[in-house]
């Protein structure tokens, strides 16, 4: 109420957060309050409530049935599939890829990063945040976490450009195993700011965990690609 920044975020987005709070701990299938009830509770209109709920439905967090109600959605199914790299092969199409460094620092790992990198909670990890561009247009927001601290990482990265090139050539870290997760999400305020898209735009969110030959995690990355401008094309030679 007091902060002016609150005015920056639309009401329906704040309401989204409120509803997410309501959902915490509820089992899938549990009905949440009706749209009319939420409108009254949060002193807003049903239209605004519907805008908030619609996005949560689009994200797969809620479901709704006309005449019945709105309920907590079951968790996503996971589909396994083989694929390989993610590096800058835009060049093979004659496109000009680039990246902007937003931040690069060493920090204490949070719970999520710890879990993925197999690092103790609070121990140092390197955090690399970049914007990926193609033909000068921002197409993806990427945050990579690496275990520990790499000496002279910033200058080495600036020289080589490619993260994988630096890891291999300078630090002798070879990636032997990669696991990608691809799913859709909707753009929030950060994505809007960094990618120049609009609230609620669909995103392709890719989480990548890379390991070395010993199976030790080397990198964990979260990439958000603009769904409206992006298209993956992949080729492979082999059976089935």
């Amino acid at each position: 109420m007091s902060s002016d920044a609150a005015q920056a975020t639309p009401k329906y987005y704040l309401l989204k957060t409120e509803v997410l709070g309501l959902m915490a701990g509820l089992h899938p299938g549990t009905l949440i309050p009706t749209e009319r009830a939420l409108a009254e509770k949060y002193a807003t209109s049903r239209t605004t409530v519907r805008q908030a709920i619609s996005e949560l439905v689009a994200e797969g967090k809620l479901g709704r049935i006309q005449g019945h109600g709105t309920f907590v959605a079951p968790p996503k199914v996971t589909h396994v599939r083989q694929l390989t790299s993610f590096s800058d092969d835009a060049r093979t199409q004659g496109l000009r890829p680039d990246s902007t460094l937003l931040s690069l620092n060493v920090m204490g790992s949070d719970a999520e990063v710890s879990a993925h990198l197999g690092v103790d909670y609070g121990k140092p990890v390197t955090r690399l945040e970049r914007i990926r561009l193609i033909e000068g247009e921002p197409l993806a927001h990427e945050i990579a976490w690496l275990p520990g601290k790499l000496p002279r990482f910033k200058s080495n990265l600036a020289k080589a450009g490619s993260l994988y090139a630096v890891l291999t050539e300078v630090y002798g870290i070879r990636i032997a195993d990669v696991e990608d997760t691809v799913e859709t999400a909707l753009a929030g305020p950060d994505d809007v700011r960094l990618l120049g898209i609009e609230m609620g735009a669909p995103l392709l969110v890719v989480h990548r965990l890379a390991r070395d030959a010993s199976g030790a995690p080397v990198e964990w990355t979260r990439s958000a690609f603009r769904g409206d401008r992006f298209r993956f094309v992949s080729r492979v030679k082999s059976g089935i």
Copy 2:
């Protein structure tokens, strides 16, 4: 209750089609009429116009700038990437995959299919339309086109289950090269009906072109996966 299907399509969806018509032939960047103008022209409210336009924006067909206007968006960028198969590896996770046959017939190829399969326009192609399910839940709508006509295809497919298994084991067609395109889209009436999702829900749309060792197209497929329930996970062992 046979068919009053007339007013089944909502007004904002019809308006979407209208606006798409307006856009035809316009260069990227060209401004379309303002929301207020469209509301008047089509005798509707600005709210309805905004719902239609918002979906077109989410699909990447339009862009808009506050204080300036709404314009035709530039075409999507394409990113090349390597990956492999798409077949039923859900089992590796202990999930139960299944598919429902919606239709299977031989028809004259349309322009789009001709282009991809390298078949003359109007020549016979086999069209296979299925719903993919995991754990009994519909997750994807898939239409596959194969060049020509395959004898006893229906019964062979029923026996084997897997399309690739039939092609290989019965017809001796081996797939040597595959090209996938992944992008986001929003659910339209067909997707809503077949997948039980709601209008405007985000989808992962995959187009696949498979070739044999000689480079001849063997299969062209369009798959629409529910973005709210689906997640790809891929593993691979190898460099970068």
